[in-house]
């Protein structure tokens, strides 16, 4: 279908975009890569009066490493998560997640910031962000603030970004020695939405887990940290026994809904299978 009519402004600065938003009232949509917004317009899921295009704002681009944190501009394209050496070195879970996101042409255009701000509970980057414990830098007319990923994703398509605010950058804490990662998902087709997926980041010393961070996606209304599974693994060696305990603990972490595709019990089963596979791979490298 064709999109409904709207007015359009190409913003030149973050401040300019926010003041245009404030002037126009709330019937506004911000545009980044457009790969969630534009189809939603074509499907007439929304019909804003004004679109403010953020994509040419220089301050939203760029990837840099400073003081132990990687700053990834919100307008960074998915394809850069695959190709950029700084992301590969400092935010490896984004690099591992990116090939699972949609298809090559989508990845040329879709943005990391857009994906996080959109907060589709079935998408890959939000779960990677939770597992990496990133902080999201958000601009508001009152100033900027940084929100930890665990507090950023609130509900389906809902984040800590208030109306009119703009996600500026993703700050990733640099990896520590001994860190290993795992990312995988179960899908029916390459590039399709995951039936269930998981991002895992761990630090092992002499084989003993000093830290473990697990986030699952496509399991509920937002990317979900597996607190009980993490607790089942902390301070232990990754082996058959600890993997079995972590898989069992997932029952306390997840309460997936039944949906049209398959029942909740199957989703929980698949989550356990997937976590087991990822942990078994970590066992090999940890």
């Amino acid at each position: 279908m064709k999109s409904p009519a709207f007015e359009y402004i190409r913003a030149e600065s973050v401040a300019g975009a926010m003041s245009a938003y404030a002037e126009a009232g709330d019937d506004v949509v911000y545009l980044a890569g457009g790969h969630s917004v534009v189809p939603s317009l074509a499907l007439r899921l929304q019909a804003p009066a004004l679109m403010i295009d953020l994509s040419e704002i220089a301050a939203l681009s760029g990837i840099s490493f400073q003081d132990g944190w990687l700053r990834i501009g919100a307008m960074t394209r998915h394809v850069q998560a695959i190709n950029d050496p700084l992301i590969a070195a400092q935010a490896p879970l984004f690099a591992a997640a990116a090939p699972f996101v949609a298809h090559p042409a989508i990845r040329n255009r879709g943005t990391l910031g857009g994906s996080l701000a959109h907060a589709d509970p079935a998408s890959e980057f939000p779960a990677a962000a939770v597992a990496m414990r990133v902080e999201l830098e958000i601009a508001s007319p009152k100033g900027t603030r940084r929100v930890p990923a665990d507090e950023f994703f609130l509900d389906i398509y809902e984040t800590a970004i208030e109306p009119g605010e703009i996600l500026l950058a993703i700050h990733v804490p640099g990896p520590v020695a001994g860190q290993v990662i795992g990312f995988d998902e179960i899908t029916r087709r390459q590039g399709d939405y995951a039936m269930v997926g998981a991002a895992v980041q761990a630090v092992a010393k002499d084989g003993i887990l000093q830290d473990i961070s697990i986030a699952l996606f496509s399991v509920g209304t937002r990317p979900t940290r597996a607190v009980a599974a993490q607790a089942a693994l902390m301070g232990r060696v990754i082996d058959d026994a600890s993997i079995a305990d972590a898989k069992a603990a997932l029952g306390d972490d997840l309460d997936p809904p039944d949906d049209l595709q398959f029942p909740a019990t199957m989703r929980l089963h698949l989550a356990r299978v997937l976590l087991g596979r990822i942990l078994a791979n970590l066992e090999a490298v940890a």
Binding site: A5, Y8, R10, L43, M51, Q190
Partner: protein, 162 residues
Amino acid sequence: MKTDITLTVNGDAVREAVEPRTSLADLLRDNLQLTGTHLGCEMGACGACLVMLDGAPVHACLVLAVQASGHKVETIEGLNESGLIKDLQERFHDRNALQCGFCTNGMLMSAQALLSENPMPSRPEIREALSGNYCRCTGYESIVDAISATAKMRSGQTGEVS
């Protein structure tokens, strides 16, 4: 209200006034009569509308014409006339890699982008590169054959698919 845009399409400077809701695909097809860019799903799923934007394939249905202002677009007409994909087109022809031809624009765009990044892709890599391109005539095997053969010929091998 219409917005003035300027962009480069197949090497030519284009100046148009468009409604902001106009997709790049509609601009190309309706205003510029470049109808080789096909419109299937208009939601980024089928891959029939791929064009090169600043050298990389994107869905022309998911890019607004206003967003393309100041940028460089190349359509299948431009690629065709450049001669850059003549060998790829010939391999598609040889191997019956198209039946109705609706998906072919997108297949050629994805194939050309793949081969420019990865001159000797494996068959699984070719399939992955085509994962966002639907062919409803079920011609995937021959499309993969054609791309694989082009890769081999470009690298000086025979291009025969065993």
